[in-house]
């Protein structure tokens, strides 16, 4: 697919994750904007309309990603959102966004477990962007 002119929003307080995914997304031809937290992301969204968002679940609050996800979907209902979590490995808590019912409360389109490899993220991004 053509990634030209496609902007991905990355939100994570883990600067290593941001750095690594940004470099790779840019190498794949995407435009990338990043924010280290929910507040900064909301600020960024007033001027930028990304084509897809990748959010970390646990940032300043354990559920900051959920909240942001909800806010994003309210602003842009069609915006595909990938929620990245370390929750399963950190707490043993498990949830998924595989069924409509799960998606209805998780709000994200895809949940990915950390640590993730870039190929995995790229596959989901391409799928959600319909290519």
């Amino acid at each position: 697919m053509s990634t030209k002119g496609t902007t991905i929003l990355l939100v994570d307080d883990d600067e290593d994750f941001i750095f690594q995914q940004k470099v790779q997304l840019e190498a794949a031809g995407f435009g990338v904007v990043t924010a280290p937290g929910r507040k900064e992301a909301l600020e960024l969204l007033t001027s930028t309309r990304p084509d897809l968002a990748v959010l970390d679940l646990m940032m300043e609050d354990v559920d900051a990603g959920f909240t942001l996800c909800y806010e994003l979907k309210k602003m842009y209902p069609d915006l595909p959102v990938i929620l990245v979590t370390g929750v399963t490995s950190e707490t043993g808590l498990e949830f998924d966004a595989a069924t409509d019912e799960e998606r209805s409360w998780v709000k994200a389109d895809v949940l990915l477990d950390k640590p993730i490899r870039f190929e995995q993220l790229a596959r989901e991004i391409n799928r959600l962007l319909g290519s």
Binding site: D13, D16, F118
Partner: protein
């Protein structure tokens, strides 16, 4: 109210009725564990019936008549001893011989009750057994809690150690896939980031070793006269590069020499951890003020910064293991979450305390109070064995 299950085993119905009556509504207060105990009483008329009930659910206390039709009380006792049933057995005997008593004791009988007995005698034996059980259960609960805390610690530790590994692995993937712009600046940045994560992991392992050493008490503490100002100066030197990077001024206030009997290594850890935090969580161009004071046998170390400060809720949990305050202001600051927990543990070794007083966005002041250790043995460094400790 805790309930203990009691099983009465006697072939005479009249005896069982009498015992049931004596224990109805009976409660025992166990002061050592501050608990009230009541009893749920069940009965059996033969050894065989008793064993069946015991195998189903072991009672806390077993009142077992020695003379039973069929299987004898001793045989029941030996059987449950062989099966390692967790119960406290009181043998009821009408004609106890030494031989029987020895056999019963060998099989783990806890107590004896001689027939005929009064309700008061029965209650007194039960009271003793109940106290024994309550204390045993309390000890088990505490041991289990300790085990859980240890598991939790190891689990958190595992995740904390995994995080920098994941980060470095991510950078290696980026390099290996050749996706990063092939410029010296980019390659250099990736390598610097890897090195920083490894350095962080090394610091964390060092903190962990410090903590284990302090908590296990295995390391022999080397007590000697320590000049706190000298240690503080050394700490300032250690913190200087990080402070200079953000033009933070670190000052020492110490009017009179502050000496105390202590383990120098421990004092170094306290000062290093406090000062490195004060630099890390400071604002650019901020200050760190270290003051040392001695009042009687109390040594007071105060480290004040002009940094981001803490809320009351954050301050309350600050001295626990692996607690790192996560908010917008602490983003990008790395730490093991063990430094202050170690400071607190060391302060406790000196019968002292570590506290914090803080105003968000203005700064935090950490105060550590230490009491001088007793020099009850000659300091290792003493070169002249004849001179008494501390006489110089």
């Amino acid at each position: 109210m805790d309930s203990l299950r009691v099983l009465l085993v006697d072939d005479e119905q009249g005896m069982r009725m009498g015992m049931l009556r004596a224990l109805r509504g009976f409660t025992v207060h166990v002061p050592s564990v501050d608990a009230d105990v009541d009893f749920i009483v069940d009965e059996a008329d033969t050894g065989e019936a008793a064993l069946e009930k015991i195998q189903e659910a072991a009672p806390d206390i077993l009142l077992l008549d020695l003379k039973l039709p069929g299987m004898s009380g001793i045989e029941v006792l030996e059987q449950i001893a062989a099966e390692h049933v967790d119960t406290l057995t009181i043998m009821i005997t009408a004609y106890a011989t030494i031989e029987i008593a020895v056999r019963a004791t060998k099989s783990g009988a806890y107590d004896f009750l001689a027939k005929p007995f009064t309700p008061t005698e029965l209650r007194s034996v039960i009271r003793k057994a109940a106290e024994h059980r309550a204390v045993t259960y309390q000890a088990r609960r505490l041991a289990e809690e300790k085990r859980q805390v240890r598991f939790q610690f190891i689990s958190v530790l595992g995740h904390e150690l995994k995080a920098p590994l994941n980060a470095v692995e991510g950078y290696l993937n980026v390099l290996q896939d050749g996706v990063a712009p092939d410029t010296p600046a980019m390659q250099g940045e990736i390598l610097d980031r890897c090195r920083a994560r490894i350095e962080f992991m090394r610091k964390m392992i060092a903190d962990l070793l410090d903590m284990t050493r302090i908590e296990s008490g295995q390391k022999k503490r080397e007590l000697a006269q320590v000049d706190l100002a000298a240690v503080a100066k050394q700490t300032i030197e250690t913190a200087a590069p990080a402070a200079a990077e953000r033009t933070i001024t670190v000052r020492l206030h110490c009017d009179t020499p502050v000496q105390m009997v202590a383990d120098r290594g421990e004092i170094e850890i306290v000062l290093n951890n406090l000062v490195s935090n004060a630099v890390k969580y400071n604002r650019d161009a901020g200050t760190v003020d270290i003051s040392l004071k001695k009042q009687g046998d109390e040594v007071i170390i105060v480290v004040a910064d002009t940094g981001i400060g803490l809320s009351k809720e954050e301050a309350a949990k600050l001295f626990s293991d692996f607690v790192r305050i996560k908010n917008e202001k602490t983003r990008g600051i790395f730490g093991s979450g063990l430094g202050l927990s170690i400071v607190k543990k060391i302060a406790e070794l000196y019968d002292g305390a570590a506290t914090v007083d803080s105003t968000p966005d203005e700064g935090s002041t950490f105060t550590v109070v230490l009491h001088e250790s007793e020099l009850d043995e000659e300091p290792k460094s003493s070169s002249s064995p004849a001179s008494p400790a501390g006489s110089s």
